[in-house]
């Protein structure tokens, strides 16, 4: 055991209860016990009182038949499935819109953030106008704008805008063909996996080669060639084991193919454009935080503007950007619950809305819903913290 750093005395001399480590541990354990006890008291007491009031409690309702339909589901669902299933349907719809939103917002944000710093006056102005406009209009209004002002006025199914009898756009959504995989397509999937793995190795090899010899390698082009070439080759060898299912107008609506409903489109557009404007500002501030000397040094070494940005500025800017990016991702995910405004069936609309109302079990349903958002948020921030650490260690 180490000696006490302040007094220099050996710790064994102090009585057990005087040792700081021991005391702080005891207090922390007591605190945790206290919190757990209070939470437990509140929870059991609530359930007990609800029961006395004649309000159903417990999680038994999750296995009862739901009895209502949901417009969009990533897994099999109809009204004969259970309330538990509605939870999954809502959860997946939330993950879908948040996941896509995060990807789109990041792309928009990086492009616009860099564009705002562009030397080209017009590009910089466009980016500024975009950022200042969308950052300052409340998100709910933007969602309603896309839904009611842009997507609803589209033509009705019979007058759909179409592209080559494959893609149709009307006020019920965007209809597109979906691939139908036939026997033998598994090998194509396998080829994709193989391609991805080999690209990873290729990138490592290229990196090492550059470190050792200073010779760059066109990783991007070769990777793209592998990614598309290999599966395509297998696909052709297997005799094209795939067909397309095209949407077609039948009765009132299009059937067949796939559809992106306008509720999803408006929510996704609003979330990614809104959050993108914040990310753009984070990117700009990150880039500005890298001292101009870095750019000058890079130029002096003969790097052109593109590689300077990619290899020198962005990696250093990332350290400033990532923490802000994390909070924007969290915001986007939580903001996706505004879905109810346009009837997109996310977790809040389907589960904390309809299911709560049809079962009346507010406490259980809200607790589950809060648990989900907490878990999603904690996972995002854990991942981003890990990523941040990794980025910071690159520092030399």
């Amino acid at each position: 055991m180490a000696a006490d750093p302040v007094t220099g005395a050996a710790p064994a001399k102090a009585a057990l209860w005087r040792r700081p480590v021991f005391r702080s541990t005891v207090f922390q354990v007591l605190l945790i016990l206290g919190v757990v006890a209070v939470a437990n008291y509140l929870f059991t007491n609530t359930l007990q009182n609800l029961e006395q009031r004649g309000i159903s409690t417990g999680f038994g309702f999750l296995s009862n038949e739901a009895g209502f339909g949901i417009v969009q589901s990533l897994i099999d669902y109809d009204e004969t499935y259970t309330f538990g299933r509605t939870f999954l349907v809502g959860l997946l719809n939330t993950l879908l819109v948040s996941g896509l939103g995060i990807i789109l917002a990041t792309m928009i944000g990086f492009v616009m953030g860099v564009a705002r710093l562009s030397k080209n006056w017009l590009i910089a102005r466009i980016a500024t106008v975009y950022i200042e406009t969308f950052r300052n209009i409340p998100l709910l209004l933007q969602i309603l704008f896309w839904y009611f002002a842009v997507l609803q006025p589209l033509p009705r199914p019979k007058q759909s805008l179409e592209l080559g009898e494959m893609f149709f756009l009307n006020n019920r959504g965007f209809y597109h063909p979906v691939p139908v995989f036939e026997q033998g397509f598994n090998l194509v999937f396998a080829a994709i996996v193989v391609a991805v793995i080999s690209i990873v190795f290729l990138a490592r090899w290229a990196h090492r080669r550059q470190e050792e010899t200073g010779q760059p390698f066109h990783t991007v082009y070769v990777s793209l060639a592998i990614l598309f070439g290999l599966p395509l080759l297998v696909f052709l060898v297997m005799g094209s084991p795939m067909s397309w299912d095209y949407p077609a107008l039948k009765g009132f609506n299009f059937t067949g193919g796939g559809v992106v409903i306008p509720e999803l489109m408006s929510l996704l557009l609003a979330l990614s454009i809104y959050t993108g404007s914040f990310i753009a500002e984070a990117v700009r501030s990150g880039i500005l935080a890298v001292s101009h000397g870095q750019t000058e040094a890079a130029h002096a070494l003969g790097l052109r503007a593109g590689p300077t940005l990619r290899l020198v500025i962005i990696p250093q800017a990332m350290r400033v950007i990532i923490p802000q990016l994390t909070s924007q991702y969290l915001n986007l995910t939580k903001n996706s619950s505004l879905a109810t405004a346009v009837g997109y069936p996310d977790l809040v609309a389907v589960f904390a809305g309809t299911t709560l109302n049809q079962t009346g079990q507010a406490v259980e349903v809200i607790a589950m819903t809060m648990g989900v958002y907490l878990t999603i948020s904690l996972s995002i921030s854990t991942f981003m913290n890990w990523y941040n650490k990794k980025k910071q260690l690159v520092e030399r």
């Binding site: 609530t46 609800l50 159903s56 006020n171 019920r172 109810t340 009837g343 609309a349 809305g353 406490v363």
Partner: protein
């Protein structure tokens, strides 16, 4: 816990909750409000015990001096605010009648607009004293939400509203159609049942408020709008072109709509239930808002005299004043007057009495004897 409950009650009754709850319910605040409602339901339930419940609502209502009544966010004929913020409608008048019975003043009501999804939590948490919001009486709601249905102020059934140029004459032709509906309603469930039973496909597009629902229908997001039939007539007059839409003949469900109160307060339950019965009895005996004073002074009919508090038990059992029923009739009218003014021939909706006629006139509205 039980012994402390009496003291805790003072904290947890509506005053405390009201401060927590935002009064504005539209737009941005909706999600916020739901969270507040749910949280306050939790806080409410965690702190109070049941024994303190009986009689609590009447006392609390009297103490604060007005009735807090949960209504729709706007549905012509049932509950809708005019441009000055005055609420009118059948469900609104039901609340006014309760206020007339309790205070002798039908104006002592404040209204809380609620979406279908919010309504039960609002009542459970004590934000409102009575829910009068075209709410269907079902087994689940009556038995597992800790609520009681006090009666039926409108017998309804679910129907379909379609655009005329869809060229559809019957709901059975709607295979593959999409439907605008409101979340958290029996409508959602009946629609699923009906299409399952008839082996037809459908797409539900679910919105929070009737406003969003009818706007989406107007914009052609869905082929049909489905809801209780009375509400279809009400929503139809709000469309851009009401004549371009029609109600299909099918009625696919039973929707007895009525006021709801919290379970466990029998005294309050009786007051609401007998407010309705008093209005039905008044219509049956021909007592109207116009002739009620004259009847009280000069009628010879013992039924009328008992109803108007001139003889018999009067208001005692309900712990109300002797003229409770007379106040209702004078200020709100009898059931028939209330019906015609809001949804019947005196209104834009022009709905005929149908099932809502008195039992003696071919309907099923029936008030037990006042004696």
């Amino acid at each position: 816990m039980n012994s402390a409950a009496g003291d805790m009650d003072a904290f947890v009754q509506p005053h405390f909750l009201k401060n927590l709850i935002l009064t504005s319910t539209r737009g941005n605040n909706r999600t916020m409000k739901k969270i507040v409602l749910a949280t306050s339901a939790l806080a409410f339930c965690a702190a109070v015990s049941t024994t303190a419940f009986a009689g609590a609502t009447l006392d609390a209502v009297k103490k604060k001096g007005f009735l807090q009544c949960g209504v729709t966010t706007g549905l012509p004929g049932f509950s809708s605010p005019d441009d000055k913020g005055n609420w009118t409608g059948l469900d609104v008048d039901t609340c006014r009648a309760v206020a007339a019975a309790v205070f002798g003043d039908a104006q002592k009501v404040k209204f809380t607009p609620l979406t279908a999804k919010e309504r039960f939590t609002a009542l459970q948490s004590g934000e409102i004293d009575i829910l009068s919001r075209n709410t269907t009486w079902t087994l689940t709601r009556d038995s597992s939400l800790g609520l009681n249905f006090a009666g039926v102020n409108y017998y309804d059934g679910q129907g379909f509203l379609v655009s005329k140029n869809l060229g559809v004459k019957s709901a059975l032709e709607l295979d593959g159609a999409s439907f605008c509906i409101q979340a958290g309603t029996t409508t959602e469930l009946n629609l699923a049942d009906y299409f399952r039973a008839n082996k037809m496909a459908y797409t539900p597009i679910t919105f929070d408020t009737s406003d969003e629902t009818s706007k989406a229908f107007d914009a052609g997001r869905c082929d049909a709008l489905t809801s209780d039939q009375s509400q279809l007539y009400a929503l139809r007059i709000k469309l851009k072109n009401p004549d371009g839409a029609m109600v299909l003949p099918e009625v696919i469900s039973k929707e007895p709509l009525g006021p709801v109160v919290r379970q466990g307060d029998d005294e309050w339950f009786n007051i609401v239930r007998w407010t309705l019965f008093a209005m039905l009895n008044a219509e049956e005996y021909g007592v109207t808002s116009e002739n009620v004073d004259k009847m009280a002074a000069s009628s010879k009919d013992p039924n009328i005299l008992r109803l108007l508090g001139q003889s018999g038990i009067k208001g005692q059992g309900l712990q109300l004043s002797d003229t409770w029923a007379a106040s209702i009739i004078k200020q709100v009218g009898n059931y028939g007057e209330m019906f015609e003014r809001n949804v019947g021939q005196g209104s834009a909706l022009k709905i005929s009495r149908g099932l809502n006629a008195l039992w003696s006139k071919g309907g099923i509205q029936y008030g037990p004897p006042v004696r």
